[in-house]
């Protein structure tokens, strides 16, 4: 691991000013991705600004309902928070199905949103990779791409976004609160995740020195019946082949509102808007669920090894919508 310097920040403003003033520095929160990638030689900050002592870990009620989750809250704490479990059960499940106990104790919510892709060509530090070294090409296009994305890709990058939590958050219309050197701003979670397009190296709109302060989850009654299910090669401690977040509001047998998002199959946490639109006003049942899944997957582009993800995702959507329907009727 290359040498680096370290400073423990004692205030939010000084932390941000320090990183902003030093172009090759980085914030250090849970470190679960960051230390891993530094050791692998994939990223190389020469100064880490440790923000773990900053007062950004609280989970607070919003005045009009909803929650404000501090960026330094740990995955374990958010997953177990009584309000999250009660009002956003699918969000709690998405956290508990991610990583392992040890990693959930370490990893911060802000860091979870910013975690880097698990593509082996990105992580090996040497293969051509447009995300790591723009312009060198995408090794996964004609290589090992069984785990890669079928939605939202480009000819420059087909890596999947690895976060489970972010899948729940896109379905919940979360808002990312950002503090920068000169100002604060909010970005809707939809605008936070950038598809690879021609610039796969840009994954989110954070400028160097900008820090996620909190995630705001708006009040959303339908989310009380939300479900998150993850389908993977191993039963635990594994990234998703496909995961589905679903919540349904059904009135007189018709779908009044649907929230659906997908993980493991797209370049960004994927809000399944086509499926949602196809469902609203239709009878809540397997037939509608299947045609909603088809509507979403019409745009899917398979590669040599990952075509199986399309029928798998179709079945996963149907199954998780059925679970959401059962849960909503309880």
């Amino acid at each position: 691991m290359r040498p680096l310097s370290y400073v423990r920040a004692t205030g939010v403003d000084t932390a941000i000013a320090t990183v902003a003033a030093h172009p090759t520095s980085a914030f250090l929160a849970g470190g679960t991705t960051e230390i891993d990638l530094i050791r692998l030689g994939v990223t190389g900050p020469d100064l880490l600004v440790d923000i773990n002592a900053l007062p950004l870990a609280d989970i607070e009620d919003r005045p009009g309902g909803g929650l404000r989750v501090g960026a330094l809250a740990r995955m374990t704490d958010v997953a177990r928070d009584g309000r999250v479990v009660r009002d956003y059960p699918g969000m709690s499940q998405s956290l508990l199905l991610g990583a392992s106990v040890q990693l959930r104790n370490m990893a911060s919510i802000g860091g979870n949103l910013c975690q880097r892709v698990r593509c082996a060509y990105f992580r090996d530090g040497v293969s051509p990779c447009n995300k790591r070294e723009p312009g060198t090409g995408c090794s996964a296009l004609g290589g090992m791409n069984r785990g890669h994305a079928v939605l939202g890709t480009s000819e420059h990058c087909i890596a999947t976004h690895p976060s489970d939590l972010a899948v729940a958050l896109v379905a919940l219309d979360a808002i990312v609160h950002i503090i920068g050197p000169d100002s604060t701003r909010t970005v809707s979670i939809d605008d936070f995740y950038l598809r690879p397009g021609n610039t796969p190296q840009a994954e989110h709109p954070l400028a160097h020195g900008e820090l996620i302060a909190a995630i705001e989850v708006p009040p959303l009654p339908v989310a009380r019946g939300s479900v998150y299910v993850k389908f993977r090669d191993r039963q635990s401690y594994e990234f998703a082949l496909v995961s589905v977040f679903a919540a349904l509001d059904v009135r007189d047998g018709q779908v009044a509102e649907a929230r659906i998002a997908l993980g493991g199959v797209a370049s960004v946490p994927w809000r399944a808007r086509e499926a949602e639109m196809a469902l609203v006003g239709r009878p809540a049942g397997v037939e509608s669920f299947a045609s909603a899944a088809d509507a979403e997957l019409r745009a899917a582009v398979p590669r040599e090894q990952n075509a199986f993800k399309i029928p798998l995702t179709r079945r996963a959507i149907v199954r998780v919508l059925r679970a959401a329907l059962d849960r909503g009727q309880q």
């Binding site: 691991m1 370290y6 400073v7 470190g31």
Partner: protein, 190 residues
């Protein structure tokens, strides 16, 4: 380490904040198993390397060194974390507990005893990490079934596949704790 420095050159950027420490060795104050230490460490040194190479606490093991295997599991402020993905310098002011710190007065911890009784290991390399996770799992009290135990222990890999015996050891301690809690409740109401 020396080759790394040679490859990347000396690193002392002009705009480094005055309060920054490193990249060369700096005194780091660590409290491990209740005992304070002052160790000269580069900021890049992981907690795992600090424990093993600088404090001679070799019970925590280095399996993958990338957060995958769980052999390096220790407690920081009472919670199980991965020492390989934790920088030692980031643990200043926090309580670190290793496998060497869970027994008391020369007596094995009940989880250690249960691992011996159930032969819950073969090569033993993953064992200290398994025991640390098991101690935390039992204290948290979230697991009652074997499935829940398996899920909450999934961050600890055993390549000898001693999993059935590991789960049996954990099950025994959970059952023993439940029995003694019941005993206490009965004597409290008596």
């Amino acid at each position: 380490m020396d080759t790394d420095v040679a490859r990347h050159g000396t690193m002392q950027p002009a705009d480094l904040p005055a309060v920054a420490r490193g990249p060369s060795g700096t005194p780091v104050a660590l409290t491990v198993n209740g005992i304070p230490h002052l160790v000269d460490l580069e900021p890049r040194v992981s907690l795992l390397d600090a424990l093993r190479e600088h404090l001679d606490l070799t019970g925590s093991k280095k399996g993958c060194d990338q957060g995958t295997c769980g052999a390096c599991t220790v407690f920081v402020d009472g919670r199980p974390v991965l020492a390989c993905l934790t920088l030692a310098i980031a643990c200043e002011g926090r309580e670190v507990t290793t496998i060497e710190g869970i027994s008391s007065g020369g007596e094995l911890h009940p989880v250690q005893r249960a691992f011996v009784e159930h032969d819950a290991f073969q090569c033993g390399y993953c064992t200290s990490g398994q025991i640390m996770s098991a101690v935390a799992l039992i204290e948290e009290g979230d697991a009652t079934t074997d499935e829940e135990v398996a899920e909450l222990m999934s961050g600890n890999i055993c390549r000898c596949a001693a999993y059935p015996n590991i789960r049996a050891a954990i099950r025994d301690v959970i059952a023993a704790n439940a029995a003694s809690a019941g005993e206490e409740a009965r004597s409290a109401t008596a």
